[in-house]
Symmetry: D2
Subunit: 378 residues, 4 copies
């Protein structure tokens, strides 16, 4: 049973605020940890709303000023769930206050901000992690394990895409609380930072760093009404982004993301082709891993659909029984569990801020390449 | 926000104890209800274990005698998670004590027991439900909605199976705490009560009652070591059970269950063929519903794979965003949510004890038919 | 190169007449055989139509009386593609004339007829085969090979179905040239002889003979206009048939067929569950075999989708290159190729008349069981 | 019935020689045409082999000098199945001789050659076509029909890939008769001309011409033994090629091809995302088309798996019955059928030499971009 308490202060309470709160509340039910995770405080600018959120989720208290939250002695870890343009300021202040930090992805608006943030947490020496949650889908974690065991051999190809279709309607507005992801001033970029960043984080984790990229972006709908001004304004984000490039291990990368792929809700797929074996995964059926092993007897060789629900598979001993799938939200529970376990061991929890900065570097190179129409080094 | 409290007393704390406890703990985070569900007490015979369980899950207290738990004034609802052979005695005692009852499936060891239980809860007039949780997989609930809207038209065929492979090893023992499902004295039957009962509950809900059945059972491994005696003893359960029959609506039913289907962990599938449309579902990918609509333009007519994750689909407005799947455990959360909502409205929550008795009648007819090698009326 | 000629006389020129003619014409292009197969004559009652068919397909000649065809000295082998009620008479006459016989399935209207036919060909000592073509889908032939190698171990379950949806419309008439399959006087039965017979032939080939069955049939539309009389008349065939039973090897069988399963065109699927491995196949994707091997490393164990297009797989060295699929018609080419090869070797080509009689026995037991509502021995 | 004869002279008798010969032999069995297609002569340099091929397939005669074949008066159409480096010379000579020409793809080694060939056939005014056979997979033809009907609306994305794994083994040699596709001097390029050319032809047909591209190529194995010299020599082809670009209709294109994608035999897939609907297709299951229609009722909206085997679907009235699939070779039969029908009508049969030149322009731009690491206009 937990002998210590980890008090969380959450800043921002939108969609990600819910996924994180759920993770903190559930982790001790399923994982045997040294710390009991406690929902100490949540912070938001609108008092009525933040109070309701605190009551709904059982936070002990709430704040309306994030600086006040950071200043509290009873907060051990700060969780940053704000729009992207606040990440840097809050993270640096939290680091200076000696708080652990769990920051939503992408790390920052750009590499420059990210470097300041990394410098701050390194100076402060505080535990930190960034919520690239898909690393902890059991099937993806299993892929990492298989690669690390050398089962794929030399890698030739890594490809990933993240396809959605929710912004096709030209009447959809941009900006404001709900649609800040469509405003580059707040989000930093469009699909590159929102979706491709996930693909890149997983790719660097599974396949190592990238050397260079050539990219293409597109904004299909050029103007949309802005929620805050009520006027038609230019759309500043990338609706779609495609890039190719080279990994340091000699393999080729191919990535695509869009919010204009009719029929796909959140189709994050990845595939890795190695000399000896290949792997495929798809967020729409996240509990399955496709695996092809060339060493199989040729008469019965084929892609295996592995139902990742057995107790010997990553994280799955904590949940139910074989055949019974878990879902999206569990990835966040796993990240909290790993963060707390690593805290006990004094070890970092990837992706750290430093890891996320590598992803940011690829994102920035991608956006630059799209602008210059040149290959760019990462 | 909830203005009232519903105090739960849980009896039994095995696999189902975990799924129910999780449901009680999570329901208020996601559903807006009049009652806050409270984990008041858990009961088990082994004090050390039940105490640990209570601490793990945050129960206010524990008991080691279920009669003591039922006698407590601070318990509103009793949840029965014991092996099947205790269901009747506990349910009747709880009803007599005026407690609401949430009982694990199957309702009872046989129809006679079930009838006593139904009589008891009807006399007591207490709210009741049986945990046939698969009704509340969103895809299955959606199937019910589509059928009720008349989209399938006249039904010709209903088929379902529940295939597993975990008892193939002849060295697997039987009995005791972990393997009581392999002992007919405790479980009532083998796959019929454990697996087919789920298929039957869903079938009666979606397609109405059955008239008659013809069944076949098999016990592939005739003797296994018994955990409690340490000796080889006859296996008393059915390892596999197949039956066919007629529904009252004129459609044909075909059901199969086994624990000897190599390659299937918990493959519960169902398919319904109607005059106008058909539906398929598979527990291994529970977040998808397959739908075929004959009215589609013939050039582009085909089975549609519906990713049941949108906000207009049953229960899904409570969870995440389109494309992000939920899992097995959520079905229990949904049942608690419905139970509490119906409590506010004074309405029953299916499957009630009376509903579950209908399923028991089919199970008993199936087992009888297998024994007599005759068609049996339900 | 072929040094000898095999002259074919085809009786009947409907759908099956086309598939067989195609097989005869193509076999020497792809298989290296001792005989060149020659389309010598085709026979049909309507001279205009049979003449057109002969010209279309390149038959050397045509006949309008099957007895005349059988009497010709230049015919080596008679192919019977007539409606089922003519099989017996023609086959016996052909045998008596010393012709080889290739007969469409099912062998006969019933076991009695089948026994006469077997007696006739055995007496005559002529080469014979029945066109249960699905044995020679490469994926199915591969399944046979895997089973014979012992890869599945002891078999527990065999299940198959054949689902269609083309007779749901109650306005569809019955009888006549095009719809004789809906008239029991001509076809012998409905889905049992037309569809289940295929499932049974494959099952007996892969899994051995059956001991007993319990069956249920249904005729959903009770009356249909008869093409020959223009009047509404009772429908005499079974629209749907389900049966279960025991194989001699101790495994359980489950079979279903219907023409009322909306969404399925010709969904013939089979699955075999063994102690060590399982196999699945589906006619709708006939070039794939699903294979599950329990001996696989548990971390990457799953159903393998084998794309049966490689040169080391049955028959596939004769066609294209890996990844390029063949289709339905090739099964008939394979059967002709095997028939001709076996002719050179003096060996029988399964399914022989004797094999097909075993299938007929199961069909008759199934229909009897459905009538008596009793278990029936095969 | 055919009243005229079309005499074919085939040059080259490798893998493609077989697929074309089969198409010529089968087309009149299934299509009602004005011309009977006749296998008049086949030409190859090795007399023994070409004679055997002629006998195997039933050619009336053979030649060992392609110029002799072209000079024959009894040849109406010349089919060029040689390695790519002979296409130009033969095609120009055949055009000058007034022969119709059916040329294997890619059209030529490069745009310059292609332009000479187009000039020659235009000057001669002869019927011509290039064997980009995948246009005539019924599912792909259906896709074209759906797009032309406007069902997809404005197109946002077109993506395709062609993945194989047969050259991963570093011991595989290059060059010679069997492996000329691995020798750029003979083939022109590697996967770009062999595989991507197929993807590009289909893309231009379905989605219009491209404006510009940015490409990346890779040769993973740098040296291989050359069959003709017996020595290790540099590999001159591209093992993998990825490119992105813009279509003239404003949509984005993404293409990838490789022979190093372990687990894929011939995985040619394409996907088109439009404002109203999307389409997917996969050569490994070529008889299916995936279709998503956003106008569907949201409760039952999903990707439809259309089994392209019904009589109202392109070409399928010529073959069997719903549910029974055709295969790879049928695409060639369809192309011959269309060629002959268009001959009767005096209309061109796409892809013509001029169409194939557009594909060649994209291929050349792709290879140039990979070399310059710049965007290149098509």
């Amino acid at each position: 049973m937990p002998s210590k308490t980890l008090n969380i202060g959450l800043i921002g309470y939108g969609f990600m605020g819910r996924t994180h709160s759920n993770a903190y509340k559930r982790v001790n039910d399923f994982f045997d940890l040294d710390y009991r995770v406690n929902l100490k405080a949540v912070c938001g600018r609108n008092e009525e709303n933040v109070k309701a959120f605190a009551e709904q989720w059982g936070y002990d208290s709430y704040e309306t000023d994030w600086k006040a939250l950071i200043a509290r002695d009873d907060i051990d870890a700060v969780d940053i769930c704000t729009p992207n343009n606040f990440h840097k300021e809050i993270a640096i202040a939290a680091a200076e206050a000696g708080k652990m930090i769990l920051c939503e992805k992408p790390l920052a608006l750009n590499v420059e901000e990210g470097e300041e943030m990394v410098a701050a947490i390194e100076k402060a020496g505080v535990a930190n992690t960034v919520w690239y949650n898909y690393r902890r889908v059991p099937a993806v974690t299993l892929a990492k394990q298989l690669i690390d065991e050398g089962r794929l051999g030399k890698i030739f190809h890594y490809r990933a895409n993240f396809l959605q279709d929710w912004t096709i309607d030209a009447e959809l507005p941009q900006g404001g609380e709900g649609l800040w992801r469509m405003d580059a001033a707040v989000a930093g970029s469009g699909v590159t930072g929102d979706l491709l960043a996930h693909c890149i984080d997983t790719a660097l984790w599974l396949n190592g760093n990238m050397k260079d990229v050539s990219a293409m972006t597109e904004t299909f709908v050029k103007e949309r009404e802005h929620v805050l001004t009520g006027k038609k304004e230019p759309v500043t984000i990338d609706d779609a982004c495609t890039f190719m490039g080279h990994f340091e291990n000699g393999s080729l990368g191919l990535f695509e993301s869009t919010r204009y792929a009719r029929g796909h809700k959140a189709l994050y797929t990845l595939e890795i082709n190695g000399e000896k074996a290949s792997i495929k995964w798809d967020l729409h059926d996240l509990h399955r891993l496709e695996y092809f092993d060339h060493a199989d007897d040729s008469l019965v060789r084929g892609w295996r659909s592995v139902h990742v629900t057995d107790g010997d598979m990553p994280y799955m001993d904590k949940w139910w029984v074989p055949g019974l799938q878990i879902g999206y939200e569990h990835t966040f529970v796993h990240q909290v569990a790993d963060f707390v376990e690593n805290l006990s061991k004094g070890e970092p929890t990837g992706p750290t801020f430093a890891d996320a900065l590598e992803t940011q570097k690829v994102c920035d190179a991608v956006l630059k390449s799209a602008a210059t129409r040149q290959w760019e080094n990462v």
